[in-house]
């Protein structure tokens, strides 16, 4: 099939940029480890409250600046609802839901992941700025969806 000369230039340039772009995204994902939340850990959705670590949710100090934050999501609240995190902490956040799908998001950070019954959602984030951050649910979960929230306070 014949292509017009200008179209050849246009497509070569466009497709060239496309592959550069995909390479950048790929290097970010595989060489630098920037993958979206993709935990494959499962949990019985009816036994979240009895399953460790969600039987005792909250922030746990692991070592150095490493922490683990375990949260339970249910319509229409997070447990715990206020979380204090020391500045500079590298926190692995685990969230599990007792009922429907929720969207765990901390506004003003890159933490944003789906929480689905049967799975533990996990993402690691370093909190390098102090202040109060709003944790909200960004996936529709029922009549009180817009009231579902928690607070993260990052302190010195």
């Amino acid at each position: 099939m014949h292509l017009h000369k200008f179209e050849k230039i246009w497509l070569t340039f466009g497709i060239g940029i496309l592959f550069v772009f995909l390479a950048v995204v790929g290097v970010g994902a595989f060489a630098m480890g920037h993958q979206p939340a993709s935990s494959i850990k499962t949990i019985d959705p009816e036994k979240v409250a009895e399953t460790a670590p969600f039987d005792n949710p909250g922030l746990v100090h692991i070592e150095g600046n490493k922490y683990e934050l375990n949260l339970v999501a249910e319509a229409f609240a997070y447990t715990p609802s206020t979380i204090q995190i020391p500045k500079g902490a590298e926190v692995t956040i685990n969230v599990a839901t007792k009922d429907v799908v929720h969207g765990f998001s901390i506004a003003g950070t890159n933490v944003n992941m789906m929480v689905e019954p049967g799975y533990v959602s996990t993402y690691t984030q370093t909190f390098s700025k102090t202040g109060e951050f709003l944790v909200l649910c960004n996936e529709y979960c029922g009549a009180g969806h817009h009231l579902m929230m928690a607070k993260v306070e990052v302190t010195e």
């Binding site: 466009g14 920037h34 319509a75 933490v111 689905e116 996936e139 029922g142």
Partner: protein
Amino acid sequence: MINSNFKVDRNDGKLAMAHFYVAFAALLLGGTAGLLQTLVRSGKFTLPAGIGYYQLLTVHGVLLGLVLTTFFIIGFLFASLSKTAGTLSSKIRLTGWIGFLTMTIGTASTATTILLGEASVLYTFYAPLQAHPFFYIGLALVVVGSWISGFAMFTHFGKWKKANPGQVTPLLSYMAIMTMILWLVATLGVAASVLIQFIPWSFGWVETIDVLISRTLFWYFGHPLVYFWLLPAYMAWYVVIPKVIGGKIFSDALARLSFILFLLFSIPVGFHHQLTEPGIDPNWKYLQVVLTFMVVIPSLMTAFSLFASFESYGRSKGATGLFGWFRKLPWGDARFFAPFIGMLFFIPAGAGGIINASHQMNQVIHNTIWVTGHFHLTVATTVLLTFFGIAYWLIPHLTGRVMTKAMNKLAIVQTIVWTIGMTFMSTSMHFAGLLGAPRRSAFSTYGDSAQAMDWIPYQIAQAIGGSILFIGIILVLVIFINLAFFAPKGETEFPVGEVAKEAEKTPMLLENWKLWVGVLAVLILIAYTIPFVDMIQNAPPGAKPFKHLL
């Protein structure tokens, strides 16, 4: 084009018009819901009479995302086939009516459950929130009805091919069939999910549902759904607009090739809607991200082809200089102006789409109101303004009327009103989304959180934009009713462009349906088989229904 009709047959016209009545009724109701949503989110208005925000949101999504689009598209495709591949036989037309009735009954069933407040699950109906069984049955009927109409179209096209062996098929019919193949393959996913998972579960015949499988089947359908909206708009851009401006189609072969590429790369890509979900290996997500981005290629081809048509026309009218041709375009003709503005909006819409589908950047905007801003540019501006542009000649063509100068002027005003309203609404949605404001949420200050307070001015701007857009809806309904019932009698042209003389002959390889559907099947199997088997093998215990949360 041996048996191309000068006019769409009267009876075929009635079938198409029936679809348009439902589509524009859906626009009125769904648009009203949209207006109320933006008012609620401004924080200055509360809904009367026990109407729920999420009930309205379900009405809005179902009526505009599924009903308006599907009915308009099927009506347009029937009209295009009747025009370019000959009048429908009475059996095929009857099949089309059966498809229409099935879809309409389905819509009524779904709408009733939503109005009764038994189905405020939004148009994506994510499990384990559970709606009334007739919500799902209604949706299944809409899909089945569209299949019946699709098979009527395939049969009609097959007859043309039999009567014209070895001939290149009419371009508009080819594109119509390509659109229906895309729809058929895509809806297999959502139909499987609704029939096998949701309906038995909503009746209580099975106790639990696999949430991740249901979401994966939904998004296997959900992304090609947007291309099902877009391809009919591309039909108008490639075939109709060149004729409207008085130019030629740049290349028949490249137009067909771009449709094939859209078919291939719009389906095996649903994971880019599930990038932040647990249970899916990130390597498979990345593979589907790469496949998603392949649609950049036919998009670039389309942009080139359209602007080549515009420039060649302008130069044939004596335009000089680099952009002199731009001034020669028929700016006063709503059949051109509305779709052209739609094309311009597709530039920022496409750029936003690249961000959405990017493996990492997605998590910055996922489920924020940025995404709402994005698809109000794509489907609610690019596609919708093109559909309005189609209606401005197709409705009078079918009803034996002509669009008056006053109505044409009103249509130009409508397009400008839409542009202003959408610029307000979509821009403020994009900005609020970047700050983290969620989509699909009623008004909330989140306990007077400082961050949530920052979003409120943007929400007020959205309400202003939404109100302007509602005026646009009223204007287009006035035009629709005028063209359907009151415009002066006369003949309106169904514009079908001719291919430029210097364009190459179309290779028959592009007509090899079995080959392309085969390639598509292979791509789908590559993209989905292993992760899907993983989901089944490593499935957690299923989820019980939650009805009381609605």
